[in-house]
Amino acid sequence: MSDPGWVKITLGDTLATWVFGGAWTIDHAARLAGELSLPEAARARAAVFDLTALAQMDTSGAWLIARLGRALTAAGWQVETREGDPDLAALLRRVAETRDVLPAQPRPRSLGDKIAELGAGVEQVIRDSRDLVAFLGALTLALTRLLLTPWKLRWNAIFAHLEQTGLNALPIIGLINILVGVVLAFQGADQLARFGAQTFTINMLGISILREMAVLLTAIVVAGRSGSAFTAQIGTMQVNEEVDALRTIGLDPMDVLVVPRVLALVIALPLLTFFADMMGLLGGGLMCVVLLDITFGQYMSLLNQAITVDHFWVGMSKAPVFAVLIALVGCFEGLRVSGSAESVGRLTTRSVVEAIFLVIIVDALFSILFSYLGI
């Protein structure tokens, strides 16, 4: 590289001279910016910029010189330029002629602005909830229409989603529920032993797994696995304008994208929950065999006495409702993606959080309902 940029400043009584030399490039810009300041003390009001010694200059260097020229002119100076290399002079003129360069400073946010933002946020939440309910309505209409004409359903898509959301989720759901069964049995036996009520471990295990744990854990894993996938898939299609393309060829995205996913999940989640029930009871049973000093056969018969089939159906009945919630939120957020790849990421996160939140809220409502019904 050629010699680094330098500036020689001579302040006379009537005339101030800036001699610029060397390479005025972005590599030296940080240092050079510090060397160029307005000469507050100078009495002269005429300046000469001498560019004849400049070896190299890029837009950064030109901007520094042009900025100084502007500041001097604004302070009432006469600035004259002694040009050297015609190319460099042309670049300096081009940069100096560019107007509106100073970026507009954003206004600092006042308390009023923050209150307004809070209000806008609340309004947004209300509008989002209304949109989600409207989407549920549209989905119900589409589902009714398609279930009355089942040959119009996209069975290929439904089976593909069944495989992805159901079959492929078996290992992780199985593992998680075995472990939860083990943990429940272990903790339960430990606590109940203090009252000498160790035999009730099996009652607690069966009821908590069948009624709550299996279906809730399965729904949460599926929300993280499949709800997010729905949002990301549909969102990416939205970014590529594939969803718009579907509309232009006369296909309703609701029929093509949403209904198959919802139906697939409504079929898959109860099946997964059943699998989770079995795995949870298996894991708990293995732990009981170790802790309570019984055989697996004894565990089975104790379990049979401890629980009724109602407990099983309470858990299973929640699964299709959770499935609709997860698929609904996943597809809804996916269709709300607009423009950029960044919004796919943001809405995918939202979809998982919302789906898990709704699943837990609805689970609480189910508990209240079942206690009223005395089941």
Binding site: T25, A33, T59, A90, T98, P103
Partner: protein, 256 residues
């Protein structure tokens, strides 16, 4: 600096293949400093692959790439990074970072390669945005709020962030209306003259080729034929004849 000074980019014996398909086979190309070279060729003839090979996004199967006198394959990471700071690339759709504003996009290379103070970076970003022909307010906008033409201008502003010596443009005028495309041509030639850039431009736009390119490289039969427009007009190769003598060429004012 090593190498011959008047050549900015030199390719020797470049071979690129994807599976059984050979895209380039022994391609040689010299790009001179300060020229505007247009690269044309049919779809699938490897225009973008050629550009990606030069900027190191695609590793050639054989051959050497020399940029600004440096053999790219012999450089270590630090030396590569120094060379990379001396070129700017405009991708086909701008490839702006969607989570950053336009001004932050322009500042991204500056943050990586320089230690300028924040305030000076703001001013330089605003300057580049104006030089690229965007209004000053565009700096605070996000890419998704811009039209296609504005995205390309913002992409140019980012490509110019470090005052590169070489500018790579991948179909800069594709998708622009004719007026916007003509303005873009003016912008490129204007920047090229005032900043002394070497411009490598992939294009299908015959108007751009005529208006701003000093030389044209035609990718054909896995090699490249470089020449001025007048030389290509005399070429007897059927594809080149068709390209420069076709209906669209006549519409662009290329006289036969």
């Amino acid at each position: 600096m090593a190498g011959t000074p008047e050549i900015a980019i030199s390719l020797r014996g470049i071979v690129n293949r994807f599976g059984a398909q050979v895209v380039h086979d022994g391609l040689d190309l010299d790009i001179r400093k300060g020229e505007v070279i247009g690269i044309v060729g049919g779809s699938g003839s490897g225009k973008s692959v050629l550009m990606r090979t030069v900027i190191g996004l695609n590793r050639q199967a054989a051959g050497t790439v020399t940029v600004l006198g440096q053999r790219m394959d012999l450089l270590n990471d630090a030396e590569r990074s120094r060379i990379e700071a001396r070129w700017g690339v405009l991708f086909q759709n701008g490839a702006l970072f969607s989570s950053l504003t336009v001004a932050e996009n322009v500042q991204a290379p500056m943050r990586e390669h320089t230690d300028l103070p924040k305030e000076l970076m703001d001013e330089l970003a605003a300057l580049k945005i104006r030089l690229a022909g965007l209004p000053a307010e565009a700096g605070a906008k996000y890419p998704s709020q811009l039209s296609g033409g504005m995205k390309k201008r913002a992409g140019i502003a980012r490509a110019l962030a470090l005052d590169p010596e070489i500018l790579f443009l991948d179909e800069p005028t594709a998708g622009l209306d004719p007026i916007g495309a003509a303005e873009f041509d003016d912008l490129i030639i204007n920047l090229q003259r005032s900043l002394g850039l070497t411009v490598v431009m992939i294009t299908h736009d015959l108007d751009s080729l005529v208006a701003i390119c000093d030389r044209i490289g035609v990718l054909i039969d896995r090699r490249i034929r470089v020449g001025t427009l007048a030389e290509h007009l005399k070429d007897e190769h059927p594809w080149i004849r068709e390209y420069f003598h076709g209906k669209r060429a006549r519409a662009a004012g290329i006289e036969t």
